[in-house]
Structures are given as C-alpha cells and as structure tokens.
C-alpha cells in the first residue's frame, strides 16, 4: 500500500521551473532514496512532501489526503523531517532537543508527561545517544548530532521519516552508522524512509527503490538495479566513471579528467 502518492507534480521558483510532471508512489514501510545533481529539485521535493512548500500544480497525498489539507499538528503526526545537522544558537541539551518533538503533546502548564519522557528515552536508546543525553547539543560531534536529530524525529512517532542529506558532512564510520540506524528503523519499526542523498553507493546498499531526478525534468524511478545503471548515472550526473560489483553490491566510481584509469585516456 502506498503511503505517499505524488501525481503530476509541478513546482517553480518564480521563473525557474524545478519540477514538472513528477509522479511516483512510496510504499508503506519501504526505503526510498532521492538522488540527482545539484539543482535537480531534491530538497524542493522534500519540502513539498513535508508541506513546507505548496505545489504549483499536481498533488501530493499522504495517507490518501492532500498534504496541504492537514493542520500543522496533524501532519506532524504523519511525517517527521530530519534536516542536515547544524549547531543551534542556544545550548539546549540532547535530551531537551529530543523532547522538543513532544511539545505539541505537552499539558496546559507546558510540561511533558511521563509518556512523553518514555518516548524520548526510547528514541535516545534506539539512536544510541543515551550516553550523552545530558550534554549540550553544541558539544558533541557532527555525527552524534545527526543521530540526535534522528532521535527527535523518532520521538515524533510518525510512520514516515524524511531526511535531507543525512550523511553529507560525516566521516565513513558515521555515514555507515546513520544508514544502519535508518535501515534498523525500517525493519524493526516498519517506518517508511525517504532520504535525499548524494552518496549513491551507500544508498544503493540500503534502499529498496531509487528516485533519480535529472536537471531537465526527466526522472527515473525503480529498483537500485534498474535506476543506478552506469549509462543512466553518467547521463544524469554528466560524468564518466567506472561501474563495478563486489558480491551483491554495485558501485559507481566517477573518474575525472586526471584520473589514471579514465576510459579512453591514452597513457
């Protein structure tokens, strides 16, 4: 069953048409990666899906209802958004940050209930962030902070998680750790995961389906095997490279002009 249904979606920033005629569905409990070159409209699409932007035409349905028809609090019960990690201005603790997801559920005096605290604690445990729950959010590393942001999204207790480049500034260890965590949430908690990423090799290991957006309005949607074909990648990203396979994992390595093994390079 599809939980997100996008049909004939168009969007433009004043003169700039970013998306036109985009249609796809996301099945409940599946893991979708959105990839594509800069300016293809990945983040725009994410903002449309989370209701922060309004579609020019076409429709986005979450659980069979238009995304714009939800009140803010109702939509927040369906979709949680994880943005790229950043250091906030004021020094909230990790636990305080995660508890923010429960603010719409607070009592009239503005304090969390026992249940809110339990939900936050479970989110901390799931993301392996309990050990620095009392630390300030600015005092932990970028990878840890990204996990805290995911913990907050989990504490929102939604069926869908949207992530905008969750691993962009992280080292290899933390990249893998974030994707492991997301996959675990998909398997154990039946979450639907939609992640925008530039790291197609890592995403290919974890996701079920790929939506590849091109810059001129074309797009490819399907399984990793179908969409991440070397020809498609080379065309959409305008690169040449080497594609290979190790065991079950496919990978694509872009090769620049000065690469020693660039195809067609005479040595």
């Amino acid at each position: 069953m599809s939980i997100i249904e996008v049909s004939n979606l168009c969007f433009s920033y004043s003169e700039d048409e970013v998306l036109f005629g985009l249609s796809f569905q996301v099945n409940e409990g599946s893991f979708l990666t959105i990839a594509g070159p800069n300016g293809a409209g990945k983040s725009t699409l994410l903002n449309l899906l989370s209701g922060q932007l309004k579609a020019g035409s076409g429709s986005i349905k979450i659980d069979n209802a238009d995304v714009q028809s939800f009140r803010a609090s109702a939509l927040a019960g369906k979709i949680a958004v994880v943005r790229q990690e950043f250091v906030p201005m004021f020094g909230f603790s990790v636990l305080e940050t995660v508890l923010m997801a429960r603010v719409p559920h607070y009592g009239p005096l503005g304090f969390e209930s026992r249940e809110d605290r339990d939900i936050a604690n479970r989110a901390l445990e799931a993301t392996d962030t309990v050990k620095f729950a009392r630390r300030e959010i600015g005092q932990i590393s970028g990878g840890e902070r990204q996990r805290v942001f995911i913990a907050r999204a989990l504490a929102q207790d939604t069926p869908v998680l949207l992530l905008d480049e969750p691993t962009s500034f992280l080292d290899l260890h933390h990249q893998v750790k974030i994707y492991d965590l997301l996959k675990k949430m998909q398997i154990e908690k039946a979450k639907t995961i939609v992640a925008v990423t530039h790291d197609i090799n890592l995403a290919a290991q974890y996701c079920d389906e790929v939506l590849l957006l091109g810059t001129n309005g074309d797009y490819y949607k399907g399984t990793v095997r179908d969409v991440f074909a070397p020809e498609t990648i080379e065309k959409v990203f305008r690169v040449t490279g080497f594609s290979g396979r190790i065991g079950a994992e496919k990978f694509f390595l872009p090769l620049g002009e000065f690469a020693r093994d660039r195809p067609g390079k005479t040595t």
């Binding site: 922060q52 939509l75 923010m100 719409p104």
Partner: protein
C-alpha cells in the same frame, strides 16, 4: 548547570518563588536607602492622625515605593521581552529595541516635548502617551515591512528594524538640533532612560499589563523553545509558527512599549539579563522568561537606587547606571563562561 537536570514544574516553581522573595527583600532594602534617611519605624508610627504630616510616611509611600515599583516593572518587562526577541530572531545581539521600538518611542517623546502639549491621559503625560504610540506604531510598521519583504521572516524583520531605526534616529537628531535648550535637556534625559515618581493608578495598570504579558509569554514558552532552535523544525514538529511568532512579537512589543513610556530608553537590561540567566540556568524559555523578568526587576531596582543616591541630592538617569554597572558585570560572566558564550555568538 541548568542544562544538566531536566526542568520540572516543581523545580521551576521553587526557583521562581525564591527569586520573588529575593525581589521583595531587595525592594524593601532599597526603599530605606536614599538622600533623605527614612526610618521604617517612623513611617508607620503616626499614620493615624490625619492633620499631622509625617514626612517619613510621605517620602516612603508617595516617593520611594512608587519609584521602586516602577523600576521593578520596567526591569521585568525589558528583560523578559529581550529574552523573547533573542529567541525569536535566534540572535544573541537582539534586545527589546532591535525592531525600532526605541527610535519610534523616542520620536514620539520628542514630538510631545517640542509641541509643548499640556494635558494628561489617565494620569499620563503627553510624552508617555506619544512614546507609547510611537513604539507600538513602529513595531507594527517594521512587522509590516518585514512581511512585505518576504524572504526568510527573520532577515526581513531585522533589516526593516535597522532601517526604520536609522531613519527615525535621524529625525530625532534633526528635531533635537532645532529644539530649544531646555527641551533638549529633558529629551536627552528621556533618551538615556530615566525613572521618576508615578501615580499609583499608573503603577497598578502597568503592573497588571506587564504581569499579564509575562504570563502570556510563559504560556507559549515550550513553542518558543523549538522556534529558538530552528523555525523549520518547529513547523515540521507541528507548531503553528506564524501564530506563536505573532503572539510573541505582539506581547513582547507591548510590554516593551509600556516600559518605554514609563521610563524612556533604559538600555542594557534587555540584553544582558537574559544572557546572564541563560548562562546560569540554560536556554529553556519556560524558565528563562519568568527568571529573566524577576532578575531584570531586581537589577533595575538596584540600579535605580544607585542612580538616586550616588550623586545625591542630584540624580543620574538610570540608563547610565545600567550601562556602567551592567557592562563590566556582563563581561565577568562572559569570561567565566567563555566557552559557552563562544558558541552562543557563533
């Protein structure tokens, strides 16, 4: 310190109660200090006989107490709204005057002084009434321009505030340069922030307004926490950011306008008190707002007492004292918590 333990209702109530007791104690002590020495015993010794004037009673009830209450209201309003503006704009340099309230109120005040009006409205002088109107009008104007400018809400507002501030300040300078010298003197006192005696009716009304404002802001403080973290996140967490921001701006501006119309432009309180409270107690607005309000009240009562007695029998504008006392005090806090503040201002 404050960030290590999660805030509970009980803990918050305890701290607020303690600070309220401290505030009352400070107000009591300050009411006994002054150019004329007043003995607390004498104040209430002969109130029964109406025909005998008891100077201690007169000074205490008609002069000292009203002025101290006034300082407390102004301090509470400025500190609380400063904390709100810093959080809303996610900008540690923000203060209650950042959106042009000060210049709007200043312009209103100087127009009232120059035109030499001579009437009162509910016990308020034309200067106070014009300053209040100028403050509210300017915030409304800045809010409107910020909205029309579109972009990210915060950048538009800040830019509109800066430009309106600069423009009105220029008009103030112009009017000052064409005004008569006695008018200039009273205007400058007003612009520096000056607390004087007020009637009890005015005081009670102001106490009511400011208290209601602080309570209203406390009511939306969990939402302010998320907005001070990031506006986008607040929206996707399910907070109606437009409603919360509008209420917060309106209430913070209103209590600032009340404060400004009472005392002129008292600087520094709205900037340093919220920072000091944040350094000691953490950034949670549920605690930051009430604690800032009470601490701001204590701070301004002390500063105004100093303004009364340092050069007695003459008096200083309290704004001079807040800057002279507050500046170094804040720097000490800053150095002590250098690492924390480094991140705060990044």
């Amino acid at each position: 310190m404050g960030t290590n333990k999660l805030l509970t209702g009980k803990r918050l109530a305890g701290r607020v109660a303690f600070l309220l007791v401290l505030l009352v104690a400070v107000m009591f002590v300050c009411s006994l200090l002054g150019a004329e020495s007043v003995s607390f015993k004498k104040v209430f010794s002969s109130t029964g006989s109406a025909d005998v004037i008891n100077p201690d009673y007169e000074i205490f009830i008609q002069v000292r107490i009203p002025r101290i209450v006034l300082a407390a209201i102004v301090g509470a309003a400025l500190a609380c709204s400063g904390a709100v503006f810093q959080g809303l704009l996610r900008n540690p340099l923000a203060d209650p005057y950042i959106l042009g309230i000060s210049s709007g109120a200043g312009l209103g005040a100087i127009i009232a002084v120059i035109s030499g009006f001579n009437w009162t409205l509910w016990g308020r002088s034309p200067v106070a009434v014009f300053a209040f109107a100028g403050a509210i009008g300017t915030v409304w104007l800045v809010w409107l321009i910020g909205r029309l400018a579109g972009r990210s809400n915060v950048t538009g507002l800040l830019l509109a505030g800066v430009v309106v501030n600069a423009f009105f300040s220029a008009v103030i300078m112009f009017l000052t340069s064409v005004a008569k010298s006695d008018q200039v003197h009273s205007t400058i006192f007003w612009l520096m922030g000056n607390i004087t005696e007020e009637e009890w009716l005015v005081l009670w009304l102001s106490v009511g307004c400011v208290t209601a404002g602080v309570v209203a802001l406390f009511y939306i403080s969990p939402q302010l926490n998320v907005i001070s973290f990031a506006e986008d996140d607040a929206r996707s967490i399910g907070i109606n950011t437009i409603a919360v921001e509008t209420i917060a701006f309106a209430v913070a501006a209103a209590i600032t306008a009340v404060a400004v119309s009472l005392s002129g432009l008292v600087g520094f309180v709205g900037l340093i008190v919220p920072h000091g409270v944040r350094l000691l107690f953490g950034p949670d607005h549920r605690q930051l707002l009430p604690v800032s309000a009470i601490t701001g009240a204590i701070f301004l009562v002390v500063c105004d007492t100093a303004a009364r007695i340092v050069v007695a029998p003459a008096q200083l504008p309290v704004g001079v004292v807040t800057a002279i006392v507050g500046g170094p005090f804040f720097l000490i806090l800053l150095i002590k918590h250098a690492r924390k503040v480094g991140r705060l201002v990044k």
